[in-house]
Point group: C2
Chain length 336, copies 2
């Protein structure tokens, strides 16, 4: 027996390429498996991983033809599979990371996900805000708060600071009374980064990163470095990283083998930690603490995701183009 569930618009792509490969297709709504829920999507946000997935630069491969795309999204549950216990129709939810991107995607008018990757969010957040929390704030929390124990007065160097993860790191640093030092390539984003809460903005096309951070920290270097860059940051290690500091590597523009200066690493007992947000998402206990901390901080301190620009679903491909222009500071959002 087949039920006619109506139709929905879904973002699909059939081949690797630039944003032009993305199509919004009207299609029949499909049935749920027992462990799945169907979400009416209200807002989505774009991750760098979405663009990499689309252009064959990601660790996970799409299933062609008609691959879905997208991770971060917020919406309302409209149907639950027979085996789903903890979620109900009407719940306002966001999608978590870690589901199989070759099989599931969230961008479109509706999405189907296994229930374990779906989480309720608090009422005080709008769908656009809720869709913008997961990857940026959980990533920054897992490194800086959970592993790095960031505290009042800590200097924290944040590279690729205008990315949504960088901006979330700036905001979490401010929330605990730490001193975020935002690192960005050009001066264009200085004001936006100061607005987001950066105590200092280091523009690397103008000044030497290591020298400038050394100066800001009174010669001591920072206690935490939150780095998405790799080589260029490690080159400046002696200037930016203090005694017993932790340098989180959570991304790397330079995915090769950049040189790491041994003398400061050893004499200052610097700790260089590889880090992936999936280690938080793979642990229900850590993910629960992450959301608890983030929502509490939002509730008590007024912290909110920085949303750079909002596109309608009809301009979804344009949103990808804007993400890849690197003009933004914070999150690129698409609403239905």
């Amino acid at each position: 027996m087949t039920t006619n569930l109506g139709t929905t618009k879904i973002v699909r792509f059939d081949e690797f390429g630039d944003a032009d490969v993305l199509k919004l297709e009207e299609e029949p709504i499909s049935e749920l498996a027992g462990n799945e829920v169907r979400i009416r999507i209200e807002a989505m946000s774009l991750n760098r991983a979405d663009a990499l997935f689309r252009s064959n630069k990601y660790v996970i491969q799409p299933t062609f033809p008609r691959s879905r795309i997208g991770t971060d999204a917020a919406g309302v549950i409209v149907a639950v599979g027979n085996d789903v216990k903890v979620l109900e129709v009407g719940d306002r939810v966001i999608a978590g990371l870690g589901f199989d991107m070759s099989k599931y995607g969230t961008h479109g008018e509706t999405a189907i996900l296994p229930a374990e990757f779906v989480h309720r969010y608090p009422d005080f957040l709008t769908p656009a805000e809720a869709a913008s929390i997961n990857n940026p704030f959980v990533t920054a929390w897992g490194a800086l708060i959970d592993q790095g124990e960031m505290n009042e007065g800590d200097h924290v160097v944040i590279t690729a600071a205008s990315s949504s993860v960088g901006v979330a790191a700036i905001q979490l640093a401010r929330a605990v009374g730490a001193i975020p030092i935002a690192v960005t390539r050009s001066g264009k984003k200085r004001h936006a980064l100061l607005d987001a809460g950066a105590a200092h903005v280091v523009v690397t096309e103008n000044v030497d990163l290591g020298e400038r951070v050394r100066e800001i920290t009174g010669g001591n270097g920072a206690r935490l470095v939150f780095d998405a860059v790799g080589g260029k940051t490690l080159e400046a290690l002696d200037g930016i990283a203090g005694n017993r500091s932790i340098v989180f590597l959570y991304g790397a523009f330079d995915l090769g083998s950049p040189p790491v200066p041994m003398i400061p690493a050893i004499t200052k007992e610097i700790r260089i930690w590889g880090y992936m947000v999936y280690s938080v998402h793979n642990s229900p206990e850590r993910l629960k603490r992450a959301f608890g901390y983030i929502y509490d901080t939002m509730r008590t301190k007024g912290m909110r995701p920085v949303i750079d620009k909002v596109f309608p679903l009809s301009e979804y491909a344009e949103a990808h183009r804007y993400l890849e222009s690197n003009e933004q500071v914070g999150r690129v959002v698409v609403t239905v």
Copy 2:
């Protein structure tokens, strides 16, 4: 008023150079400052740092002419300064690290040290054993036990395994039921390393380090890497280091900026930690725990320092030459 305290033989050097610069000089015994103790030395052991200090390759400079030399040593207290409270004449003691090497040295028939760098040792150890404990075992303890929480079943890769620190790391690994994988350049030391407790010996002139460790660990890599080498080890990072492993860098033959492969570092969340034994010696609390753990393990499990060769004080320069030949497995000791 000057008291004639008699004479003593002290190792001195007046210029940088090879072991030939070391002279055993008969000289008057000098007075103590209030915070100092005088030790009649019974045994000394050689650290790589002693040879580097002698040849102008160390971070600390000697005071010429007539610089003293030496850190690790064991003996009996023969006099205490007026302000010394916790040590007494007759105490069997060893010298700790961290004193000012430009001012103090322990190698010779007697040594003067500030009391804070002098520690009693248990009766069941001989002076030669006691003199061989400090740098090797405290160094290995601080990384593997205290920070690395090495445990039963852990694979532990130990490079420069035939150094006295490497051998102590093998012994501590065995004591907790971990699986020490000794890494050495040539096959000559294989048997001695197996005798010291290595579960596996990887000879890097014969096999690829990363491939061999991958094989030994069933593809998982080790949980701990204790590395004195730098570049060559980091090159093999993907093979040797498992998920969420810790790679301690406590020395580096390659003191430049060796390349670190980013993809395994990030995707396996590897932690690369610079480490210096001084961080243990600079914390009285950590040092007390270190000695407590090491002596307990020796008492209950029969662990003892591996002493490769013992020289008389008259052949002190020869002991340096032997250290620098890299023929030894374990400690080079000089007795009075």
